[in-house]
Symmetry: C2
Subunit: 407 residues, 2 copies
């Protein structure tokens, strides 16, 4: 018999159906037993006899053929149970409780089980939905998906925090971002995106950094300046907000408030000569955006050039400032973006020195690149802020950090 | 003025429009000059005077406002040209010829330019379209996208051909596949997929191996056996064929022919005791499928257990054979898949020895896993066979191999 999902039962009242899933909870009373079955869609209650479920520990995988009965909700009665996989030991975590009570390290050690908890699973569904919306929104605007190397020959983009590996006897590095490659691909498709892992040998043990995370990267050519990039990003965020709506309410204003860097410092009460926003400043600007504009998002524009990467395009009106921006989401930096340099001469002058590690990258500019820019969204950080989960590891299936390399 | 694409010109006859792109070709005659502009969508011809384009070398990026005129096709006349980026040296490759004549190493060295050739770019568009269809087909069948670690603590899946890296002072490895993780995630979502990079320290320099390639991975639970996996794969291939239709004709039969391994050996004229199909055998079976079934695809089922990975589920009718399959595409192995072991005891008996490196993986089975299976498609290999390109590097933006680590 074709299996149906737990959520489809209500459409089959009075019929005999087959469901399958995990024993989520078993309750044995004197003369009756309740088996709560968990499948990918939800839960189903099966009413049976204590002896029939005696050997069915939680976690066991079963296929149940039974009658769909309506009585205080929908339940399955007169079941015949086929065991697909029998669990003989207690689960390391209590999956049937509304929230996991195990510590985070225990959850991460037993990720294969912990992720079965509906709350942990939901966070990953949110990530999947957001990722799908990121792609769809860009696809509708002519962006083409690309796949770029994760192993690179030199740690050129930023020397710090790279993982070094042995590449057929030569040193190589894990890519910290697809930045160079997505720029090069603007020369091919004008508009590109990539969803992929990026690697940071982050020596700090914080609640918001991972050694591997999923970066949602986009880059587009033929822009006037960074505001065109911000407009595309706004459309992407609106798409992502719509996609996560089943799990979390998120409103993206048609125009996200944008404050120049100097104003952001003033809002945060920071000295006017600070070169960057500290986390506390970001929180203050986030609170301001919520208070003054009712917005979860706020752009900070025109960061000083000194604190932006070498490929950042300066503000034509003031060379000390950049056409780079950050997007804060509920007071945390979620996106970095901006306009990039596009003239070959500009790269020669900002790079100087030995250009050979940059040869393949510089080719793109030497042989003609339009004005362009882009952005990168940290997926896990988006989900953790959205769901107001304090630690990014709680929304990552198998996190990698300073201490953790398994499972 | 809002820029339009070259392919939209025909809808604007008689109007003044703005286009933008690269100088693809410049032809100077005595009193007239033709500028062929290339944008992401195609080509446009601009008619002007020789003096107006004197300084516009090929590769330069321009924005052109001109009148759309119909005359032997659509062309742009009375242009005013704004230079966005001026190229002052000859391109390292001739992009305007129907095919790139430069050697493959030259193309790869100058990837940022070579990929701008319409044929090279088209292959990457095919890859993007196929990837999108892979996801969509699975999404419609309840599969959830996952992101799994690319840095792993032990080279457990297969000891050979792994890249080793320094992970905060400890040894670690680049993941050869998401196999363990996608199985673990079947315990969470029942059906999962991942599109991501996989890494093989492949010591051989062949036309079909890369050190990093894009793997389209899927895994599903609650299957009867490997034939359920083959059915999902068939639906995915049909979706991919429809998506690549603008570039290449590909027919996926409703039921792809499947031959048991022993028959495949016989078809290939190989000795009956061969444990695997050699490339020549695969070609012979591919030719047979084309000749006898008119199919580009053929499944080979029931490979001997001896040649399949440890997690392979045996054929219940004959323990020497497996519920694993390969899919040959035009005589080349494109997909490996099959049913996996799902009982904890089975893993204990096939693994033996020190189980600690497998602890996180084994958790999934110890705490209940349904019968499941899956498959992995090599994206670059699919595109190269589809487009009948002899070397997989020709359809990879920035290939990594034994010798190549840049750009």
């Amino acid at each position: 018999m074709q299996r149906i999902l737990s959520t489809e039962l209500a459409r089959h009242i009075g019929e005999t159906v087959t469901v399958a899933g995990w024993v989520h909870r078993r309750r044995l009373l004197k003369s009756v037993a309740f088996l709560i079955l968990r499948d990918a869609a939800g839960l189903a209650q099966i009413v049976t006899t204590p002896s029939a479920v005696q050997d069915l520990s939680e976690g066991s995988v079963v296929e149940v053929t039974a009658t769909v009965t309506e009585k205080d909700g929908v339940e399955l009665t007169s079941p015949s149970v086929r065991v697909l996989s029998r669990v003989s030991v207690p689960l390391p975590l209590e999956l049937h409780r509304p929230a996991l009570t195990a510590t985070l390290p225990t959850q991460l050690d037993h990720a294969a089980v912990a992720l079965r908890h509906p709350a942990r699973a939901a966070a990953l569904r949110v990530a999947a939905a957001a990722t799908g919306a990121f792609r769809e929104t860009l696809h509708r605007q002519r962006f083409v998906e690309i796949h770029t190397p994760k192993i690179v020959g030199s740690a050129t983009e930023s020397g710090a925090n790279v993982f070094r590996l042995d590449y057929f006897g030569r040193p190589a590095y894990l890519a910290q971002s697809p930045q160079f490659y997505k720029q090069m691909m603007v020369g091919v498709f004008e508009r590109v995106y990539e969803v992929g892992p990026v690697f940071r040998a982050e020596p700090h043990d914080t609640a918001r950094h991972l050694a591997q995370y999923t970066s949602l990267d986009a880059e587009l050519g033929f822009i006037a300046d960074h505001r065109d990039v911000m407009a595309v990003l706004t459309s992407v965020l609106a798409g992502m907000a719509a996609a996560v709506e089943p799990w979390a309410a998120l409103t993206v204003p048609g125009e996200i408030p944008a404050v120049p860097f100097a104003e952001a410092l003033a809002i945060a009460g920071a000295p006017a000569d600070e070169p960057d926003l500290a986390p506390a400043h970001e929180r203050a600007v986030g609170e301001w955006a919520r208070r003054e504009h009712g917005s979860d998002f706020v752009f900070v524009t025109g960061y000083p050039m000194a604190k932006r990467p070498f490929y950042t395009h300066p503000d034509p009106a003031d060379g000390r400032l950049s056409n780079g921006f950050d997007l804060l989401f509920r007071g945390v930096e979620l996106v970095t973006g901006g306009q990039r340099l596009h003239r070959y001469e500009d790269y020669l002058s900002v790079l100087g020195g030995d250009l050979s590690p940059y040869a393949g990258y510089l080719d793109a500019f030497r042989y003609g690149m339009p004005p362009h820019g882009g952005f990168a969204i940290g997926l896990e950080r988006f989900v953790s802020r959205l769901l107001e989960v304090p630690n990014v590891r709680q929304v990552t299936a198998f996190p990698r950090d300073l201490h953790r390399l398994v499972p």
